[in-house]
């Protein structure tokens, strides 16, 4: 990797399938994604779009019946060809993950202090005393007050917001380069969500981290991320800077999704909506997966799968209708 190359993670043609009694189901059907050092990237989509699977495939945190193909290149090294042992030198160390539901991701019978300690131990840099000192620093960093006492608390003694802070502290303990966050605030109340998002944004700036956030909330992307990848039915359909994608969407799905958010029109007017439901994994339409629900659908959308095309230097969309989409109204 050359010094001026800012690409940390380069995902190319990533396919993930699950072997099930109903046959092999493809959750990802060729995902292309690049993460640059220091950026905050949002991965947005509805349930079943493959955003969480993408995130988990990076560090191979998938179920045993999953099969991965394609390339996940981390700082010049393809993670898909690494053995479990080799991958474990990267997973949880260079790349750390925080999950949506900290109660299930944390160990319920270990204190928060023990779990941070476990993560610190991976570095093999500190003795017991040094680890304790560092654990207290980390608790302060993520905004847990009375850290001394809280180190001895168990996860069930924490509120939802505090658990998420603890999980961030555990993730940071191994001094990762890249932080992956899977719906980190979905289970939280709006004021606590705001606190956690501001905390993550601050940590990225202060520690020089890179952050990928998976979310279904376009508002979270607008408020937190610089760049966004919009996913639909196992593919990235549009990607680019948030400001550009949200003000000038060039994929019919992004376009329709943005218009269906309440607040984009006048109060009590009927909302623009997307008819139907996302396709099921076992009955993916041929052509563009969004075509059956799309207001801009033409004949070739039904037979041909559109390739990703650059609409501006950093803005890419895979849509035949990219040039025909109407203007998006400014949000209130």
């Amino acid at each position: 990797m050359s010094a001026e190359d800012s690409t940390l993670l380069d995902i190319k043609g990533l396919c993930v399938s699950f072997r099930t009694p109903r046959g092999e189901l493809f959750a990802l059907r060729g995902v292309d994604l690049r993460v640059n050092a220091g950026e905050i990237l949002g991965l947005v989509g509805e349930s079943g779009s493959g955003k969480s699977v993408t995130l988990r495939a990076i560090t191979r945190l998938l179920r045993a019946n999953a099969r991965i193909s394609g390339h996940i290149v981390w700082r010049g090294q393809d993670l898909t060809v690494l053995s479990e042992a080799e991958l474990s030198t990267i997973r949880g160390r260079q790349i750390a993950t925080i999950f949506q539901e900290p109660m299930t991701a944390l160990n319920p019978v270990m204190t928060i202090g023990q779990q941070i300690d476990e993560s610190l131990n991976l570095l093999r840099r500190f003795d017991a005393r040094g680890r304790r000192k560092r654990a207290l620093e980390l608790m302060g960093l993520v905004g847990i007050a009375s850290a001394e006492r809280r180190l001895h608390s168990y996860p069930f003694e924490f509120s939802g917001g505090m658990r998420q802070r603890a999980m961030i502290a555990i993730a940071l303990a191994s001094e990762p380069v890249l932080l992956l966050a899977d719906e980190p605030t979905t289970a939280l109340d709006v004021t606590i969500q705001d606190q956690i998002l501001k905390l993550l944004g601050g940590l990225v700036d202060d520690l020089g981290l890179t952050l990928v956030i998976v979310t279904h909330d376009l508002g979270v992307v607008a408020e937190t991320c610089e760049n966004v990848c919009v996913m639909y039915a196992g593919r990235v359909v549009e990607r680019g800077p948030v400001a550009e994608v949200f003000s000038n969407p060039r994929h019919a799905y992004t376009h329709a999704l943005l218009r269906s958010v309440p607040g984009s029109g006048r109060a009590r007017e009927l909302l623009a909506y997307i008819p139907g439901q996302p396709p099921r994994l076992d009955s993916m339409p041929s052509g563009c997966a969004f075509a059956p629900r799309c207001g801009y659908c033409e004949d070739r959308c039904l037979s041909e799968s559109p390739a990703a095309v650059a609409v501006s230097p950093d803005h890419v969309a895979a849509c035949f209708a990219a040039g025909r989409l109407a203007e998006v109204r400014e949000p209130q």
Binding site: P262, R268, Q277
Partner: protein, 347 residues
């Protein structure tokens, strides 16, 4: 549509047709906490929490009243009290002037027919072994509002009303998508021709694109059937879109209530201000321009030990000494008229 004229609740001559259709005065519900082994050994009694604390509300005819607040603020308990799924400890509920809590027998059943609830998770509230058609027919026969031979025709009308294909009657809940199931939940509530719908987080489990479909359905049905709607949600964007008036709850109390647009444009209570500020917006700001300061510090206090005075004072950026002692009552401000009230000493 040939809706049978529903029976009115114990038709009384002094029913005010102009007043609110549904109202509460001082509605209060307390729950008992769990007692640990340690509590038993040390002789400590049960702890209590007040989920709904002296709530006064009015729901007007054909209006949508939004109720917003974070988890534990009492909004769902309030909803359950309104449909009598939970018995309040104190306070009055009036429907068309009638004291709802005093109703018994036939009159109580008639009330439940006029005020219906739509739940968050239609999957949890539909019998998984019952076909959709039968689930709807059950609602019709339980309340005996329609002759047996008319039931299947009415089921088809209801499916049509919520834009489900007629064939859905033969399906089981698991065969439907989340959005379709919520349509069934709404159809079942509408089966008995209610005047008021209480919807508790009706779209929270749905994806954005499907949410919009259901919100549109509520808007359409309200106009078409002249419904009054109580819409309970944690999502400020939704309530801003759908509600004529909005009530904001914090730890069991209404801290602010008023016309939705006024309340969102210039919230008076510091809690409403922080909620509005914390809610993610689609406005694009450059990373360097983004605030690193959260809208409000701290977390919700335990409802078993609420702070004295104003419950929001430990998190409030402008709290003064008085806020720690004296609980503020809802009062109107200098502008906005009687309809807009906030419970803050400093508003």
């Amino acid at each position: 549509m040939n809706l049978k004229k529903p029976r009115t609740v114990a038709a009384s001559p002094n029913t005010e047709r102009s007043g609110p259709i549904l109202s509460t005065v001082g509605l209060t519900k307390r729950f008992r906490g769990r007692r640990s082994i340690l509590d038993v050994m040390t002789g400590h009694g049960h702890s209590w929490m007040t989920a709904v604390d002296g709530v006064n509300l009015e729901v007007h005819r054909r209006e949508t009243l939004g109720i917003v607040g974070e988890s534990g603020c009492g909004k769902s308990t309030l909803a359950r009290c309104l449909v009598r799924l939970t018995v309040p400890d104190a306070g009055i509920i009036r429907f068309e002037g009638e004291d709802v809590l005093a109703l018994t027998g036939v009159a109580r059943r008639a009330y439940n027919q006029r005020v219906q609830m739509v739940f968050q998770d239609p999957y949890g509230s539909l019998n998984p072994r019952m076909r959709i058609g039968n689930a709807l027919a059950e609602a019709l026969t339980v309340h005996a509002i329609i002759a047996r031979e008319d039931v299947s025709g009415r089921v088809n009308e209801l499916l049509d009303l919520v834009h489900l294909p007629a064939g859905s009657a033969e399906r089981y809940p698991h065969e439907l998508s989340g959005g379709q199931r919520q349509r069934v939940g709404i159809a079942r509530a509408l089966a008995v021709a209610p005047a008021v719908l209480i919807a508790d987080e009706p779209v929270s489990a749905l994806d954005v694109s499907v949410q919009a479909q259901i919100i549109n359905l509520f808007l359409e049905l309200q106009t078409r059937l002249g419904l009054s709607l109580v819409f309970i949600t944690h999502d400020l964007r939704l309530v801003r879109h759908i509600a004529h008036r909005t009530a904001v709850m914090y730890l069991g109390r209404i801290v602010e209530i008023g016309p939705t647009e006024d309340l969102f444009r210039a919230p008076r209570h510091p809690y409403t201000q922080s909620l509005v500020k914390a809610a993610p917006q689609l406005l694009i700001r450059r990373r360097s321009e983004r605030s690193r300061q959260a809208a409000v510090q701290g977390e919700l206090p335990s409802p078993f030990a609420p702070p004295p005075g104003c419950a929001f004072h430990p998190r409030c950026p402008i709290a003064v000494e008085r806020c720690k002692i004296e609980t503020p009552a809802l009062s109107t401000g200098s502008s906005g008229g009687d309809a807009w009230q906030a419970a803050c000493h400093l508003a």
